[in-house]
């Protein structure tokens, strides 16, 4: 019969219409929405059409979601080096960036003029960035990550769309909050929740301590911790000036103290993480 195909098609549209409202009725329109409703109606088992009421409710983005990059810095309540950049200004992100939108000024020590593993300035031109995530993927220090904040509209790009270091820096706890699983995987690969260099130092110190303990078992006091900071960053040259002879012991004691503090913090963090 001519027209049967059209009628069948209309039947499908009616079903879509009914399905949508059936669910709305089932979930009681907007009142007293159960928490799991959203997941069900956005998932594979959903029926009908469900519109996300954007500013009132937002689809949370998944962990691997990429928008613009940000720089990881230590938390403000970090016991040892609060607010310190994880970035060592090695420049790999700026080299691997396909549209070349990352600009880094490597830090230099004002006294010696030698490079230090800290960026003096860091810029990302958001008008060029293609959100590809290569910088985060290839950063050997897990210091640059892709942000989840997509609400970035503005009225004048010239003043706000080149993000400087201050705008880019976000604490590590923020990164853990947006990507808990990935952060944990990466921490596992690094060997701890700290920056790679800190972990390396710690391992070295531990090894040295163990050696010293083995060598001088009866003398447990004053554990010598050797060269904690030297050759920390593989890219930039080490910057620690040799400590003056006189205060060497003092210095070592302080280092040991710091180490203990750091370990305590690590333990705290681990406890928090679990």
């Amino acid at each position: 019969m001519y027209g049967l195909g059209i009628l069948k098609g209309l039947g499908v549209t009616i079903r879509h219409f009914i399905d949508t409202y059936k669910n709305d009725v089932f979930y009681g329109f907007n009142k007293g929405k159960p928490a799991e409703e959203f997941g069900v109606r956005q998932g594979t088992k959903s029926e009908g059409i469900y519109t996300v009421q954007y500013p009132d409710e937002k689809v949370a983005v998944p962990e691997r979601f990429r928008f613009t990059p940000f720089l990881v810095v230590n938390d403000a309540d970090h016991p040892d080096a609060p607010g310190e950049d994880w970035c060592t200004s090695c420049g790999i992100c700026s080299k691997v960036c396909p549209p070349q939108c990352i600009w880094i000024v490597r830090g230099t020590d004002p006294a010696t003029g030698r490079p230090v593993p800290q960026p003096e300035a860091f810029f990302i031109d958001i008008d060029i960035c293609m959100n590809c995530g290569f910088c985060a993927e290839f950063c050997p220090f897990d210091a640059i990550k892709m942000d989840h904040d997509y609400e970035m509209s503005n009225y004048d790009r010239t003043s706000v769309n080149i993000h400087d270091k201050e705008r880019l820096s976000k604490p590590f706890s923020y990164y853990r909050s947006i990507a808990p699983t990935t952060a944990e995987e990466e921490a596992d690969a690094r060997g701890g929740w700290e920056h790679t260099d800190v972990i390396k130092e710690k391992k070295k110190a531990e090894a040295a301590a163990a050696k010293a303990a083995a060598a001088a078992a009866p003398k447990p006091a004053a554990v010598p911790v050797a060269e904690a900071t030297a050759d920390a960053a593989p890219v930039a040259e080490a910057v620690t000036a040799p400590a003056p002879e006189a205060s060497a012991d003092d210095e070592e004691q302080k280092k040991a103290e710091r180490l203990a503090k750091r370990e305590a913090a690590l333990a705290r963090k681990k406890a928090k993480g679990e």
């Binding site: 098609g9 549209t13 088992k45 009132d56 937002k58 949370a60 691997r64 979601f65 396909p98 990352i102």
Partner: protein, 622 residues
């Protein structure tokens, strides 16, 4: 065929046999390409037409996949035209090249033998300045007529030119930021020739379009307000038109409602993919390929990494991607096919008058797959997921979101359950419903059956690919004809049409989605079996060195055969930036058939015909 002659042309067999036959038949004019890592034969320019005739008619290489130019500036100082021809029955490529002088490049045109070379030769003329003697309509195709220079030549530099190769030195270690426009005297991305005379300035870009071969209208007369003689009506559609699927433009010549000539005008989204691609490192190009066919970015990634992996295989140390990574790649490619076909069918129906509702239904399903892409690769559209030797990351354990903005609503699904629900239940149910919804619809049938017919011979001759080719009854699918990845071990059929009309193309796409689901169902157990295996081989290098040579990697993308021609040249130790990076874009070459299909049809049909070709402008214009 009786095999009584010793030198009978091998119509089957490898490209080596074919090359040997050609060398014997044209002594002196055909020679092997002896550069390390290069394949195929070099043909003398004067003999090209005869050799190509033999290749097509005697050797059976009747499908010209790709024709592209390479500028060896500073490396032999010649221009080269590279052709890849295939047999429609399947098998590897016969790669033949023609070399010509850089200053006065002239090469005989192959349009009469392979009509599919039409646009590709025009592109080579536009971007490289190679003249093709005998080409019927040798005009610029991507840039406008009157543009200064041929931009893909190695010595042509654009206004924002910063360096030969990325990474640029200005970014690190003293990268004080500046915008490119601050360095350019005009404050924007323009530069004029030094002897530029404003008084002689005239915008000739439209004149060239209207006086082209298929339109042939006197532009001066057409724009003269005093001249009101009757002529055939010329209608301009696009670049701003809701049914041209982007910024595509067609100029139609009409006799009443009937089309007597059609000239496609493109380049409105020509964003210099290949020029930027030659400056990029190999890795940089992966996210750029996302932006070619931006509806099926996973497929583009796949083609590109395959091409570069072919090059890497020329080197000493190379391990093929792991099995799991191949499974994941195929999973993504097939999901992409479904995403793309949902989109293209939705818009095709939109074009023939089923306004937006079918599109909305299809898009609602598509969003679900995009959610999976977003959770796995990090982005809905621009997936940037494949890497040389594997993929970016393994599938996540759960598709989960964490709330970190105000009002965030979270979701949490098990990835494998989500996939198996989609593949086994939701998508088949949806396709069945969609079939019920529209396939039997009388209006749809009347608008599509018998319209826009393309015969199988024409489709092959015009190098059409994908559903356009298969809709015409040619069962040519790269996944079967020249298998790659794990497709040989998968069980699927190639749907073909019967008469090559709009309905057949619609049906082929619907059936291809069913076949994709069939493939996906076979992949699910493989994913379970390989759980926990490596997804990458070797270490991830941020700037890998690729051995010298050439490679042509092609995949069956949803829109047709997507090929990447990559040349690594210039450094015996291997290069970090490709010398040549060319995209054989199915959308671009499929448009060759638009004109012949549309002539004789009505204006309203040309929109449907364009919709049935399924172009995407990012790929057409690159």
């Amino acid at each position: 065929m009786v095999d009584y002659e010793v030198q009978a042309p091998p119509t089957t067999g490898s490209a080596q046999d074919a090359a040997a036959y050609l060398k014997a038949k044209f002594p002196g004019a055909v020679s092997d390409d002896t550069r390390p890592g290069f394949q195929g034969v070099i043909v003398e320019a004067g003999k090209l037409t005869e050799v190509a005739q033999a290749i097509r008619d005697e050797l059976g290489y009747n499908y010209l996949s790709s024709a592209t130019a390479v500028d060896y500036h500073g490396a032999g100082d010649h221009m080269e035209m590279v052709y890849h021809a295939y047999r429609i029955s399947g098998g590897g490529a016969l790669n033949f090249k023609v070399q010509t002088d850089r200053e006065k490049p002239v090469i005989p045109s192959l349009v009469s033998l392979y009509p599919g070379a039409d646009f590709q030769e025009r592109e080579a003329y536009d971007l490289y300045g190679i003249h093709f003697s005998g080409h019927p309509n040798l005009k610029r195709i991507l840039m406008w007529e009157g543009f200064e220079g041929h931009p893909m030549r190695k010595d042509w530099k654009e206004a924002y030119y910063e360096g030969e190769a990325k990474p640029f030195d200005s970014r690190w270690p003293s990268g004080w930021v500046h915008r490119a426009e601050e360095k350019n005297i005009y404050g924007s991305n323009v530069r004029y020739p030094a002897d530029f005379d404003l008084s002689k300035l005239a915008d000739r870009s439209d004149e060239a379009v209207y006086s082209s071969a298929s339109i042939g209208v006197d532009y001066q007369r057409m724009t003269d307000p005093d001249d009101i003689r009757t002529d055939q009506l010329v209608v301009n559609m696009g670049p701003h038109h809701p049914s041209t699927h982007g910024v595509f433009r067609m100029v139609l010549k009409l006799d009443g409602e009937t089309i007597t000539g059609l000239e496609p005008v493109m380049g409105y989204l020509h964003r210099n993919h290949e020029k930027i691609g030659e400056r990029n490192t190999y890795l940089h190009n992966i996210p750029f390929t996302d932006r070619l066919d931006y509806i099926s970015s996973m497929g583009n990634n796949f083609g590109y990494v395959m091409a570069v992996e072919q090059l890497m295989a020329l080197g000493a140390r190379y391990t093929a991607p792991t099995y799991r990574s191949e499974v994941i790649r195929v999973l993504m490619a097939e999901l992409t096919r479904i995403v793309n076909h949902l989109w293209s069918i939705g818009f095709f129906l939109n074009d023939i008058g089923a306004f937006f509702t079918p599109m909305l239904y299809a898009n609602a399903e598509r969003e679900k797959i995009l959610d999976f892409f977003e959770a796995t690769a990090g982005s809905r559209l621009m997936c940037n997921y494949m890497r040389f030797g594997g993929v970016f990351k393994d599938l996540p354990e759960r598709i989960r979101s964490t709330a970190n903005l105000m009002n965030d609503k979270i979701r949490d699904y098990n990835t494998m359950e989500f996939l198996s629900d989609m593949i086994n239940e939701r998508l088949p149910r949806f396709l069945e419903e969609y079939d019920r919804y529209l396939t039997g619809n009388e209006i749809l049938l009347e608008r599509t059956v018998g319209q826009g017919v393309l015969s199988a011979q024409d489709a092959i001759a015009m190098s059409c690919a994908g559903p356009l080719l298969r809709g015409s009854g040619v069962a040519y699918d790269v996944r079967r004809a020249d298998p790659y990845s794990i497709y040989p071990e998968l069980d699927f059929d190639i749907p073909v049409g019967k008469q090559g009309d709009l309905f057949d193309r619609y049906k082929v796409r619907m059936d291809e989605m069913h076949e994709s689901l069939r493939i996906l169902r076979q992949l699910l157990p493989r994913l379970e079996q390989t759980k926990g295996e490596d997804i990458m081989v070797g270490t991830k290098a941020y700037s890998p060195r690729i051995p010298q040579g050439e490679a042509y990697g092609r995949v069956e993308n949803p829109k047709g055969e997507l090929g990447f021609y990559v040349v690594s040249w210039g450094d015996a130790k291997g290069t970090q930036n490709p010398w040549r990076y060319h995209v054989r874009a199915p959308s671009f070459i499929n448009l060759t058939a638009l004109g012949p299909m549309s002539v004789g049809q009505k204006v309203a049909d040309v929109v449907a015909i364009l919709g049935s070709i399924d172009i995407v402008l990012g790929e057409t214009d690159r």
